[in-house]
């Protein structure tokens, strides 16, 4: 009795809503059978996005997007609210997962040249989504409204301020005024919670619509270069012979990989936890060492390593050029070979980009350009004693800040040259001239040390390497 009643309700609903007409064909559309595990990254990105939506909605119920209260509400979420710590962790690792997966998805599509005819717009909508996801990552990072969040806003405004003519206007638009204040955080909150997610929903919809329109691309085959004149007919014919329905033949792999992704996000949230909050968001406090989240470290390193003359061009030009290059790629090359074996330059570009990313990320982690403010005085074992002029010099090398930038036997920063062997490399006169006059990115100390102090420092430096 009941099953028949259910069936009647379903028949009515299906007839009026059109589930079988619209949704079932999408689910069971025919896809190539050879893709296997290569094609799981797009759906996993979408899964990560859904994790962000759910955890984000929950967090927004307690988070107060006000300059003054946000920090308190974050503390409450992290320390008191049931599941608050886990949710914050999931949102943080979900963001990392989303950025990672969207890039992996892009690299896979690029290596397989799936952006070629007729899927140019699939790629172009994907590139827009990539940049929106990066925008989400940046705005989300500073909703973690601690000292790091405040200074991230200042850095963003300063970067925008470099734009010719309209720079100050963009900077003040970003800050919501002339200074960091009550209106600043709510602007980023609106971007992160209303504007950019709206763009993502619309963009994902379009991206999927195009996927259904042009079908899932096959694995690249060196014997099947893309010819726009014949591609569609050949693709349809091959699919007719060897294709399988997406549901369930291909979908289960997406489900398995997405499960792994969610498990990793949840596991990290529970066992590692969200990033700790730093100091309160006080723009008058200098006790901050602003760093972006890990996926932007490479860019942070670029900003530190650039010659100042090029800086403004790179800060403003690189994102625009990067976007245009990616966005226009299928307009420049939309036919011919798809197989990586026939496209050595594409493989080289990916390897070079991955290598640059790794090197710059490690470099940013070490921050060799940043003074080591936490450096301790040199131990007696390095100095070679704790009495006499040499030991006095060693104490001055610490007190005068030399060690912030110069490293001696593993102690100190890396901004300037290492001084472990400096006694062998420079004469006493050279040392005195260099310390007094500075040069080559070193400040001149003539005005800030006495003659006795200078003599003691040089006494100590002369013993290095001897």
């Amino acid at each position: 009795m009941l099953p028949r009643r259910f069936r009647e309700v379903w028949t009515w609903l299906d007839d009026r809503a059109g589930v079988s007409d619209y949704v079932v064909p999408l689910l069971t559309h025919v896809v190539p059978r050879d893709a296997r595990w290569w094609y799981v990254f797009g759906s996993a990105t979408l899964t990560a996005f859904l994790v962000q939506v759910v955890t984000g909605i929950c967090l927004a119920m307690s988070y107060v997007p006000g300059g003054g209260e946000a920090y308190q509400s974050l503390k409450y979420i992290t320390e008191q609210a049931p599941f608050g710590n886990v949710l914050r962790g999931m949102h943080y690792y979900g963001a990392s997962a989303m950025v990672t997966l969207v890039v992996v998805h892009l690299v896979q599509v690029y290596l397989h040249a799936s952006y070629k005819y007729p899927r140019e717009l699939n790629w172009m909508t994907g590139v827009v989504l990539l940049f929106v996801v990066l925008g989400m990552a940046f705005t989300g990072q500073l909703l973690r409204w601690d000292a790091n969040g405040v200074w991230s806003v200042v850095v963003a405004a300063e970067m925008a301020g470099r734009t010719p003519l309209v720079g100050p206007a963009i900077a003040h638009f970003t800050l919501g005024g002339d200074t960091v204040g009550g209106s600043t955080l709510s602007r980023f909150f609106v971007m992160h919670v209303f504007v950019l997610p709206g763009v993502i929903f619309a963009g994902v919809g379009l991206h999927l619509l195009l996927l259904f329109r042009h079908g899932v691309s096959e694995m690249p085959n060196p014997d099947q270069p893309v010819d726009p004149a014949t591609y569609k007919a050949e693709y349809r014919e091959r699919l007719r012979r060897t294709g399988v329905p997406f549901w369930p033949d291909a979908a289960w792999r997406d489900a398995v990989f997405s499960t792994v992704v969610v498990a990793v996000i949840l596991g990290c949230a529970i066992f590692v936890g969200p990033p700790a909050l730093t100091n309160p968001p006080d723009p008058g406090s200098i006790d901050a060492n602003p760093m972006p989240d890990w996926y932007f470290w490479w860019y942070f390193a670029v900003l530190s390593l650039l010659p100042p003359r090029l800086e403004t061009w790179v800060i403003l030009g690189a994102p625009v050029l990067g976007f245009l290059a990616l966005f226009c790629l299928p307009l420049i090359s939309n036919k011919g070979h798809r197989a990586p074996s026939k496209r050595p330059w594409a493989v080289a570009v990916v390897i070079a980009a991955a290598a640059a990313f790794c090197v710059l990320t490690i470099y940013a982690y070490r921050e060799p350009w940043s003074p080591d403010f936490a450096v301790q005085p040199l131990p007696a074992s390095v100095v070679g004693g704790d009495q006499g002029p040499v030991a006095d010099g060693a104490r001055l090398v610490h007190r005068k800040g030399c060690l912030y930038c110069h490293n001696i036997d593993g102690h100190g920063g890396h901004r300037g040259p290492e001084l472990s062997q400096i006694g062998k490399l420079l004469t006493r006169d050279d040392l005195i001239i260099r310390i007094n006059n500075g040069g080559d990115n070193m400040p001149a100390f003539a005005g800030s040390i006495t003659s006795d102090e200078l003599q003691a420092i040089v006494d100590f430096l002369e013993t290095r390497g001897r």
């Binding site: 309160p280 008058g284 200098i286 901050a288 912030y404």
Partner: protein, 175 residues
């Protein structure tokens, strides 16, 4: 779209004119609705861009509390603070008493990308933790990427009260 149009019989000319008018009317009304929503919205959102930069004298302490020659961090209220800004309404400056009545104040914002510089007293240098900018004690660039000297705030002494003229966050622009 064309599929729907084909269902319509060919219309007499006056009906075509009517349809043409109606389609323009609809577009025009849609545009008006758009303007009605976006004009006040844009005005609201862009207002901070056209604000006159606010300047306010803010007290930072008693004159005698600042030892001669020392450079100390002072915190004070932003010139444009909203009532709900809380802790974000504060900003800071490095204040130095150079003589009995004379003070100089440097903005804590590095001129490279705005990070907070620290005063290293023994070395008499300002150092930035972000990208390695270094300034001499007079605020001029000693090393690193900053293109300009540290910005100074105006300071005055009224009675025994030291006041700083708080202003916008200093921006390094290309203009």
């Amino acid at each position: 779209m064309s599929g729907h149009n084909q269902l319509l019989p060919t219309a007499p000319p006056e009906q075509e004119r009517r349809r043409s008018f109606l389609s323009w009317l609809t577009r025009g009304l849609a545009g008006l609705i758009g303007l009605a929503v976006t004009v006040p919205g844009l005005g609201f959102v862009l207002a901070p861009v056209f604000q006159k930069p606010p300047r306010r004298w803010r007290p930072v302490g008693k004159r005698d509390a600042f030892p001669l020659g020392a450079t100390v961090l002072v915190e004070f209220e932003d010139p444009s603070s909203e009532p709900w800004a809380g802790v974000t309404a504060t900003t800071g400056a490095w204040l130095r008493r150079v003589s009995d009545d004379q003070f100089i104040a440097f903005s804590i914002n590095c001129r490279h990308l705005g990070c907070p510089v620290r005063w290293i007293a023994a070395a008499e240098l300002f150092m930035c933790p972000c990208h390695g900018g270094v300034y001499y004690k007079d605020g001029t660039v000693a090393a690193g990427p900053p293109p300009e000297p540290l910005k100074r705030y105006a300071v005055r002494v009224r009675g025994n009260e030291v006041e700083i003229e708080a202003g916008p966050v200093p921006l390094t622009t290309t203009n």
